[in-house]
């Protein structure tokens, strides 16, 4: 890290992050030997399984004792430990600019910065994708401090953009994420849940470990308004005139139902889903990921 004081990564956070270690349970697909288990069989001390010899296999891996007993060639395979790729997708649409004390984007940027530091500090690789309706910027996986600085600077320069479409962004990220690893999507997820999980399907199929971090503002959770209000959509500019008091209860119920749908779909696809509000400290997200 350079001596520059970053907006979203403060010294006290760095100190606090030293007690964390990013170690997702999903198997990684790295090219460097590292701390994370991999599906690629390699030379390690961790026995994996036996399998029959096929021409082309390394004959040094043949287990001769088995041959002596069964007169067949079997290979002993070992799990290869490798480094992990963590891909962060940060929603930078206009809706993420909503917030009374702190915007959702700023809150997400704090979490993203801390996560980047944590991953790189563990000698893993991390990539960052800023998106709204499109992929606005993409930082390929890297594990260097310079790479971290680049991402931190990008977060500082990041501003709420246009409409949001998590599904479209994910679709465009499919060719970008070549190696298996973790995907952490940070968004308010006020989008169509079915489209989101449809877009996540290729990643899940490829074995990615997906984490969905929903960030909401208390103001939009509880609709803290009174009287007749003209609600103007931050992305589309759509206007709706309604009495906040009259629709509060139904709005909260509908939002809860939306989140319940997200949570249900996530559980069905074995996707980790966590929802926080900006009045909570973002380290609670780390605690959640640690529990996972």
């Amino acid at each position: 890290m350079s001596g520059k004081q970053h907006k979203y990564l403060k010294a006290e956070d760095v100190r606090r992050l030293k007690s964390y270690e990013f170690a997702p349970k999903a198997l990684a697909e790295g090219y460097l030997a590292g701390r994370h288990p991999s599906h690629v069989r390699g030379a390690s001390v961790e026995f994996h399984d036996y399998r029959q010899y096929v021409p082309g296999d390394d004959r040094a891996l043949i287990d001769w004792r088995v041959y002596g007993r069964s007169d067949r060639y079997y290979l002993r395979t070992f799990e290869q430990e490798t480094n992990m790729s963590c891909n962060i997708l940060l929603d930078s649409s206009a809706s993420m600019g909503f917030g009374e004390k702190i915007s959702k984007l700023e809150y997400a940027s704090f979490f993203t910065a801390a996560l980047c530091y944590l991953v790189i500090h563990g000698t893993d690789r991390i990539s960052l994708t800023l998106f709204d309706e499109q992929v606005r910027s993409y930082y390929p996986p890297g594990s260097t401090t310079r790479h971290l600085n680049q991402m931190l600077n990008a977060l500082e320069d990041n501003h709420p953009g246009e409409r949001t479409s998590v599904a479209a962004a994910l679709n465009k990220c499919v060719p970008l994420f070549r190696r298996r690893g973790s995907i952490i999507v940070i968004s308010d997820f006020l989008d169509d849940p079915a489209a989101i999980f449809q877009a996540l399907a290729p990643f899940l199929h490829r074995g990615f470990r997906v984490h969905l971090c929903q960030i909401l503002d208390p103001g939009e959770v509880n609709l803290k308004r009174e009287g007749m209000t003209t609600f103007v959509d931050m992305e589309s500019g759509q206007r709706v005139v309604a009495h906040a008091g009259a629709i509060r209860e139904s709005y909260c119920a509908a939002l809860q139902k939306h989140n319940h749908g997200l949570r249900e779909l996530a559980a069905r696809r074995q996707v980790d889903f966590v929802s926080v509000t900006t009045d909570m400290h973002y380290f609670e997200l780390f605690d959640h990921l640690a529990r996972e």
């Binding site: 931050m234 992305e235 589309s236 709706v240 005139v241 629709i247 139904s250 709005y251 939002l255």
Partner: protein
Amino acid sequence: MSIGFESSLPLLMAGVVLLPLLLHLFARSRPPRYQFTAVTLLARLVRESIRARRPRDLLVLALRTLLIAALAALIFQPIIFLDRRLNDATRRNVVVIVDCSASMAYAEGGQTRFSAACADAVDFLGGLKGSDTANVIWLDSNPDAVFPGMGVNYSWLSNELRKGKVTSEGAAIEVAFAMAAAMLEGQEGYREICVVSDFQASVWEFFKPPEFEGINVVLSPVGEGHGANVALGELRCVPAAPLCGEEAEVEVDLHNYSATAVQRLVFVSCGAQRQSRRIALQPWSSALCRVPLSWSTPGLYQVDVEIEEDMFNGDDRGSMALEVRTQQRVALCGKESVSGKIWERLLHALPWIEVQSVTVEEACSGGFDTILAAGWDGAEAALLQERLQRSGALLLAPGSRVTGNALAALTGSDSSSVSGVLQAQTLSGFIGRRLLQDDEPLFAVFQRGTHGDPCAGRVRQTLHIPEALLAGGGVLLRHDNDEPALWRAGGRTQLYLWNIVLDPEFSTVAQYPEFVILSGEILKRCRATDLPEAVEQRASGDLLSWRVPSGISASKVRLLDGAGRELKTMIGGERELTATEAAKPGCYRWVAGEEVLRYSVVPFPAGESDLRQMRPDKLKIEAVTVSGRQARNLREGVSIWPWFIAASALFLLLELLALAPLPLIKKKTGSRNHGG
């Protein structure tokens, strides 16, 4: 129907008040804008809820509009006029006839019909303005008006109505209407006679309304329908003037004017004598109660009759007065005839008879109990007929020259087929008679056989009396040649026809003692039923008066009511004493010292006991039937602003109910299929 406003000034003030209100209502404030994220979600919620909210919003809008309208109308104090003509009349002249007859004392629903009528009458007078005139006529047996003519002091009239009292009198309806019409005659403008009454059927069904020109009649019935009542009717003594030691019967008519059967205990008292009878009365029926009384000394007696009191107690007691005599006074006419002499000998033989030989004219004018016309030839038939109609009693023994017309005049028969002198038939031999009715009380004395045969004696001459002359009565004895021997008129007419020849040349009847017994029985029954001279009957509401006979100092004569209270009297010309107050039902005594000189009996008006009402529209009179309140509303209009207060409160309540939070309509389809 039209609508007016009590107050017009608030109309301008209302405009001032309403202007900012309307500005407030119609100046739509722009809601503050709020940048938000989940607007799509909100739009969907609003879209889903608008189906439920739009009707409610329209309802709230309608309720608020009605609320504002009701409040605005409240300020103007609107009045609804059902008939504008009455209100537009330039000058109104109203005569209110208030029924204060006895039946109005009946209490229904906590108040008497009379008090309800007075309240109604006050309403009729309500709303009269400066140039209007009014008067009130009390409808009783002698209707009188509060003012001599039409007046403008309405408050005085209203005050008189509040102080009015019901009387125990009947109702002279025609007199009251004539009085009202006379008052309204010559008055300019709208003229109206308002009648507030219970429209008692027994009284009003005989009312023949006079023809009015230009006078509107408004009938206002009070009362709630048929009032149940048990009443004493007529009181009689049979005989009317009993003799000392004779057992007389006091007859009491009882009437049940109700739809239920009742029992009443009838108390009859006269001096020390007091008796009671329990009488059962079927619904809407009458009964006759007979109570035997007897007196040992002659004189004037007061008999009081009571029944148990009911809701209408004015007719639950009554009194009568009678004179007990020592002898029955018989006037003998035709003494000169042969049969007259025999009758005279007979009458003198009876100790309880005081006989006087008089002319028919004298007999009819004097106070005789019985007139015996012996050998009557048809003279003075009109006088005798008139005496019979005045409750006289006549034992008629026609002679051989009597005409059919004269006899028909007394028997009340049709004389067209019978004219000329009735023929006396002389027979070759004697014939007897026979009883036609064995159980006839007249012959009861002969039933034991100790008094002989009522048909004793024979005759050989009979007067031929055509049956057509006897249609109104019954033959008691008949000759063997089928000619009637003894006939009695039907009903209450005390007329006996003696067709038994007494001339010794043609008859042996007078030779038998049975003739004395039979004649005595007939005379005992054939007695006048009119009041004795010392007893008079007056109508309720009359001023009692008596011309004091000479020999009695008028100043010493006092008038006492049934309770012994002395009533004020004044001495008029020719020694006539007159009470200053109208008489109420009861028995009044004219006394000098301790001696009772005369009784004045005032019975309860007979027609007032039947409390059944008739519908005013059944009267043959062109009239409008409304209550006083309705008439007042017709004139003054009905203030409907209190209804607007109620409507405002109702609208406000409904608005609060309509604004209560409604649950959102939730889609049963649930969430979309999220790719599962």
